[in-house]
Amino acid sequence: MTATLPQTTPSTEDVRELTYSEAIREALAEAMTADDRVFMLGEDIGVYGGAFGVSGDLVHRFGKERIRDTPISELGIVGAAVGAALAGMRPIVEIQFSDFTCQAMDQIVNQAAKIHFMLGGEVSVPMVLRTPLGSGTGAAAQHSQSLEAWFAHVPGLKVVMPSTVSEVKGLLLAAIDDPNPVVFLEHKLLYRTKGHVPEGSARVPLGRSVVRREGADLTIVATGIMVSRSLEAAARLAEEGIEATVVDPVTLTPLDEAPILDAVRRTGRVMLVQEAPGHVGFMAEIAARIAGSSALYSLEAPIRRLCGLDAPMPYAPALESAMVPQLDDIVVAGRALATQEA
């Protein structure tokens, strides 16, 4: 069930360019226009326009009630979203930095994720928790984490990491439709990136891995900001005659593993690239899926994980970039993997 990337085949009417932030804002606006149960709550999403400017002018279009500024109370606002969802609304919570989900883990994990199952299936918690993750802004250890592995490990949560401007709108609309709690992890460095965004309210279904590039020599599986970085690296490698397939899971839970396993079977060599620290990170799961399937027999080399270092994120720019895989790191590791003796 692999989907191919809209932007690779832009249909004539969706050639306009938007930023990732604008695409998200458009999804929010369309969802709120179409369904009056949908509303947003979060810190400084009103006149301030959001810590990263995502909600922008929405408060002027939808009012303070539906673009609801909150006190600094992450646990309270996520809990309020759970309650509102149970009472028939479709809340969208913005947490300013994903690091602050730590404040709200009880309501996310012990409440939102479990209620549908725990109460016997009669009710559900249709809410979306949007939050930016990642480093690259010099904000140091408490404002730069990538905690997707935690959420992906929690049964009852759907977890999405939109990596392209073209898909983020449709993915968010699908997340808002979803009757389950969806953790929607946006990368800070993507907010200003531009791309083609389809007009209209076409959904991009959750739970589909996307093959971003086809190549016979190795498979790169990457998430979030590492997807574009890996595609760049693949282009560089192609100049050297090394052809890489790049697969983006997009949805971490529920995971669509087939396209990944197929790619491994075709290429025999795998590199897993993520920004988060490697130890017990999401890419460990990808490695385990491969090594736990018949794709194992196709492996011509050990599975290479290229991940963030297992350390807190430092402030100094040189240290910050040394912490996470950069373009050159991916190229070098990809080359080594492709040329390694079987």
Partner: protein
């Protein structure tokens, strides 16, 4: 793209509690004990709670029930008095010690007992157990195994009602210990700044597990904490049904008419241990005996018979009905099928095609 109604099945209202609200004279509801029908209903609720939990205690002792149980025997008046002040379509959030709230809201006793007996016919199909009973039909948004967990949820439900312009109220039950959690602070603050229709009901039974309120907070009353949120805080004898109902009715009325939230502290006591593993090392026999002497059910029975609102025979009949109702519930519940392990994984996510237009208290 307004989506279609689906996975919330609406069952008939079980109106035990809310059917018999006391007569109202110029805005002020009469004391439940002053009206025969209301007194009978309230006493019946309290007895059903008492008998239900005695049955649970017994089933547990005989090894017929597993997990752990938190009994509210001795606290029946607060649950009953508060829910009596609610209307149809109002909602509650409850706690780990939630059987009383659930019954006072009018839950189906058989489905409750079936849940505790891990039956497929239980409220949660045996998935939740004692700490997680919720009831769509009676507006019970759910018991909660997390201390303080229901407080922000109550605020959120009230926010939904307010945003939709519905004149519905949420009563949120929690214990004294819960007021030391950040969730209490954040939940009450949100309700206060947004003037939400919530009534926060702290059942102060003097202990959070073993930790006395004398040590867990530096103020004499939980109600004193209302000052931090600019909301009214009131302390009431939680074993006096009329008193609880009076403050609850006033708070519910304020909430419904846009006056915002209230913090009610109902002073009461749990007769039994905190849970099944409690050795009672933190309180004296004398203290327990003293509070057993202040049995909220006996107090109400004496009041209504003394006043002649009900006869001794009426009272006995109410008690016997409750006893029979629980016996029947246990019997019926036991006859149900055990919870079915078949579909564990299918039950994790609600089906995407079944996006609900959901309101657990429609």
């Amino acid at each position: 793209m307004q989506t279609v109604v689906t996975n919330v099945q609406i069952r008939e209202f079980v109106i035990t509690a809310i059917a018999h609200q006391p007569p109202v004279q110029d805005g002020v509801p009469a004391a439940p004990s002053s009206d025969p029908a209301t007194a009978r209903a309230a006493l019946g609720t309290m007895w059903r709670i008492r008998r239900f939990e005695e049955a649970v205690d017994d089933l547990f002792a005989r090894g017929l029930m597993h997990g752990t149980m938190h009994l509210s025997i001795g606290q029946e008046a607060s649950a009953t008095g508060v829910c009596l002040a609610l209307r149809e379509r109002d909602a509650i959030t409850s706690t780990h010690r939630g059987h009383g709230h659930c019954i006072a809201q009018g839950a189906d006793l058989t489905r409750m007992m079936a849940e505790l007996l891990a039956k497929e016919t239980g409220y949660c199909r045996g998935r939740g157990g004692s700490m997680h009973i919720a009831d769509v039909a009676t507006g019970n948004l759910g018991a909660n195994g997390i201390v303080g967990g229901g407080i922000p949820i109550a605020a959120g439900a009230a926010l939904a009602y307010k945003m939709r312009g519905e004149d519905r109220v949420v009563a949120s039950f929690f214990g004294d210990g819960a007021t030391n959690e950040g969730a209490f602070h954040e939940g009450l603050n949100l309700a206060a700044i947004w003037d939400l229709p919530v009534v926060f009901v702290c059942e102060n039974n003097k202990y959070g597990m073993s930790f006395s309120t004398e040590f867990s907070m530096a103020v004499p009353h939980v109600a004193d904490r209302a000052a931090a949120y600019g909301m009214p805080g009131v302390t009431v004898d939680g074993n006096d049904l009329d008193a609880v109902h009076a403050v609850a009715a006033e708070a519910v009325d304020r909430a419904r008419s846009g006056g915002g939230p209230t913090l009610i502290e109902a002073e009461t006591y749990r007769w039994k241990g905190h849970s099944k593993s409690d050795k009672n090392l933190y309180r004296t026999r004398e203290e327990i005996a003293e509070w057993r002497g202040r049995d909220p059910i006996v107090a109400l029975e004496q009041k209504v018979t003394a006043s002649g609102v009900l006869t001794a025979a009426d009272v006995a009949a109410v008690r016997d009905e409750a006893t029979d109702a629980i016996k029947a519930a246990v019997r019926e519940a036991n006859s149900g099928p055990d919870a079915d392990p078949g579909d564990l994984l299918d039950a994790v996510f609600a089906p995407v095609d079944a996006t609900p237009v959901q309101d657990v208290t429609r």
